[in-house]
């Protein structure tokens, strides 16, 4: 026994060592490109690094204390929450509806699915430029069309709610395919037998969807909502291109505000502190997603 077991353990050990070695480049890449900057960001957040005023490299909690009384930060959190809530809700609802619709399409028309994926492939800056022109009354073909019938389309980008709506629309347009993809995959995992059984029992299509399909989709829906929510904390390109944070400061989401503090006001330390806050929020949600994922898969 011992004679047989020994070489087998040796082979396994060799193999595992090989695998570990193969992981080295990935660990190095993550270390260099993610962990090192993250440590730097935490260090800056506790410092007094200012590009113009000068830096004495005194470390402390002053940036975090300042955050508590910063009205612009509170405003930015409110903006971020609005953008995230409406954006994620729209993306999940529209993505799911289209996924359910596309699932019923069979044959050669299945190719049409690709069409719905296209917005996801467009770079965010290009998406923002497209929607900026669509929401600018003097440039927009939509306004020109309605003008023909004497109907005036309101200027969305000049009011607080309108500008938030415009950014949510642009964000939804480019990100609903992500929700759609996940839900489509989840739908494929649901056995058609269940729907057939419900039909035999006399359930209508709507009832089957609400009482059979939807509960089975719940884990995927929750997952996609949380993933999109984490991503939505990083709102930037749409705001930068479409409104520059305006009107006034009504679309200055927290991520954009951190940028303004860092590159506009030169207050790198304070910008880093805001970024740390965002990071912790995202990490908390990511932790929850991981736990949830574990529960769903086991």
């Amino acid at each position: 026994m011992t004679q047989l077991a020994s070489p087998r353990r040796g082979a396994t050990y060799e193999l595992q060592r090989g695998y570990r070695l193969m992981m080295v480049p990935a660990i190095l890449a993550v270390g260099i490109f993610a962990i090192v900057p993250l440590i730097g960001m935490f260090g800056l957040a506790f410092s007094d690094y200012h590009l113009i005023r000068g830096t004495s490299w005194e470390f402390g909690f002053r940036n975090f204390a300042k955050m508590l009384s910063d009205k612009r930060l509170m405003n930015s959190i409110y903006v971020m929450a609005s953008l995230s809530f409406f954006g994620v809700a729209a993306q999940v609802i529209i993505g799911s509806a289209i996924a359910v619709g596309l699932q019923k399409i069979t044959g050669k028309w299945r190719v049409g699915r690709v069409l719905f994926l296209l917005p996801y492939a467009v770079p965010h800056v290009a998406v923002a430029l497209i929607w900026l022109s669509l929401f600018t009354p003097t440039l927009s073909p939509i306004n020109a069309f309605f003008d023909l019938f004497g109907i005036t389309v309101p200027a969305f980008l000049t009011s607080q709610s309108g500008a938030i709506f415009a950014i949510v629309v642009a964000d939804t347009w480019t990100n609903f395919p992500f929700a759609m993809l996940i839900i489509m995959a989840a739908l494929q995992g649901i056995s058609p037998d269940l729907e057939e059984a419900a039909a035999i029992d006399g359930a209508t299509r709507i009832k089957t969807f609400i009482f059979i399909t939807l509960p089975l989709l719940a884990p995927a829906l929750l997952m996609v909502t949380l993933f999109r929510f984490i991503d939505s904390l990083k709102h930037f390109p749409m705001i930068f291109v479409m409104t520059k944070g305006g009107p006034g400061r009504s679309t200055q989401a927290t991520n954009y505000y951190a940028y303004v503090q860092t590159f506009g006001n030169e207050n790198v330390a304070y910008g880093a502190a805001i970024a740390v806050m965002l990071f912790l929020m995202a990490a908390l949600i990511a932790y929850y997603v991981a736990k949830l994922n574990q529960r769903v898969t086991t």
């Binding site: 060799e14 070695l21 113009i52 200027a155 009011s159 409104t243 006034g248 009504s250 303004v260």
Partner: protein
């Protein structure tokens, strides 16, 4: 395992061998600029510089929006990867204070500097040193539609007060009168709004020239100016004008949607160019309106500087001297829409004069008149200006879009200024 390491070692050596010839390559410099007619023209002439000097210039022209981030990261990281950098005059004090630029006083010849307009050149002379050489001086001008003025029986407005009256006459359901930059930003609405501020006697500080930098943005003069600015945009501008930047103003003028544009020379020269606008033949050029305190056209100067960490400042200076030479600038002025040159002798080039006279006979003349009126510190030349301009611009935009009154907006701006200045 042994094989794995041998393969890795051989691979590394092979890669190293294939890269090693790059060390023996000819001298190279990296130039980072943001997109303007001059920089686009310069990029096309990079081959001329290499032919003349043997130095290869990699000219990277990027969007103005991303430029700031690109260079801030490079400068704070002291990477030394930029040899020549686009240096807007409003940034120069900040960059000097941050230690991001090196002086070029001894690197450029008197022959070069003596051919550059004294005003723009002097703007880069700080504490007795020359920190950049200018290539662009844009000033605020006004374009107006002669046909619409005639139909309304009105004269070209000389003051912002006149502008309100004339705009009221022109505006109807199908025709807006004026578009002005409204988007927040020190280079956006804060390039145009100070023209109105200064016309009404408003200032940013209690006494900038006397050295008293106590914020004075909430003065009654500034409130009055902001009310005028807001009224012009909201009552006499096209729909959505509260989110306009220069691109939208330019498009609105070229599409005939407005009668007046008050813009920098770069945009005005396009609006009056028959090749670019179908209304060019009925569009005139004038000085921007003034007010009780006179007329103060906007001024923006751009130049090229040498970053502090640039490894070969001599090569950088050689490039800058070539770029602002009469020969290079004339070529760009002829190839691009670029009447904003600061190299004096280019104005004597008959082809250049003929080209811009053909676009509009009054163009060069009005530009010189506006340059004469413009004050160098139109936007304060202090290191904190970019942050101040951003904050004030946000408040001005909030007032334009009705989120707060002019008084409230400028009170907020005053508080932000104190915060940024650490007062």
């Amino acid at each position: 395992m042994k094989h794995l390491f041998t393969t890795a070692l051989v691979g590394t050596l092979a890669l190293g061998a294939s890269f090693s010839p790059t060390f023996a390559q000819a001298e190279e410099i990296n130039v980072v600029m943001f997109g303007m007619p001059f920089t686009n023209g310069l990029k096309e002439l990079a081959g001329d510089f290499e032919a003349e000097t043997g130095i290869k210039a990699n000219i990277d022209v990027i969007g103005q929006d991303v430029f700031e981030n690109r260079i801030t990261l490079s400068f704070t990281g002291a990477t030394g990867d930029i040899d020549v950098v686009h240096t807007p005059v409003i940034q120069v004090q900040r960059w000097i204070q941050a230690g991001w630029l090196q002086p070029m006083t001894d690197l450029v010849s008197a022959d070069t500097t003596s051919d550059i307009l004294a005003g723009p050149l002097g703007a880069y002379n700080v504490s007795g040193d020359q920190w950049a050489l200018p290539f662009f001086a844009g000033v605020g001008l006004m374009s107006y539609r002669e046909d619409l003025l005639e139909a309304a029986g009105a004269e070209v407005p000389q003051t912002w007060e006149d502008m309100l009256e004339v705009s009221a006459k022109i505006t109807n359901d199908d025709q807006a009168a004026i578009a002005l930059r409204a988007v927040p930003g020190q280079g956006f609405n804060m390039f145009i709004f100070p023209m109105v501020m200064r016309a009404y006697g408003g200032t940013f500080f209690a006494d900038y020239e006397g050295g008293d930098l106590t914020p004075a943005i909430n003065s009654p003069e500034n409130v009055e100016a902001l009310n005028v600015y807001t009224k012009l945009i909201n009552e006499y501008g096209p729909a959505g004008a509260g989110n306009f930047n220069f691109a939208e103003v330019n498009a609105a003028a070229k599409n005939g949607q407005i009668a007046f544009a008050v813009e920098g020379t770069g945009i005005i020269s396009q609006i009056v160019d028959p090749a670019q606008s179908k209304f060019a033949d009925v569009t005139g050029i004038a000085l921007p309106p003034g007010g009780p305190a006179g007329r103060s056209p906007a001024i923006g100067v751009h130049g090229m500087g040498i970053p502090a960490d640039a490894p070969n400042p001599e090569a950088s200076a050689k490039f800058i001297e070539w770029a602002v030479s009469a020969e290079t600038v004339s070529k760009i002025a002829l190839a691009q829409s670029f009447p904003d040159f600061t190299t004096a002798s280019v104005a004597e080039n008959a082809d250049v004069v003929a080209k811009y006279a053909a676009i509009h006979p009054d163009f060069l003349k009005t530009r010189v008149a506006a340059l004469d009126l413009a004050i160098g510190h139109y936007r304060p030349l202090i290191p904190e200006w970019p942050a101040l301009g951003q904050a004030i611009g946000e408040s001005v935009n909030a007032a334009i879009n009705g989120l707060m009154t002019a008084e409230e907006a400028l009170e907020q701006a005053e508080a932000d200024m104190r915060d940024i200045l650490g007062l």
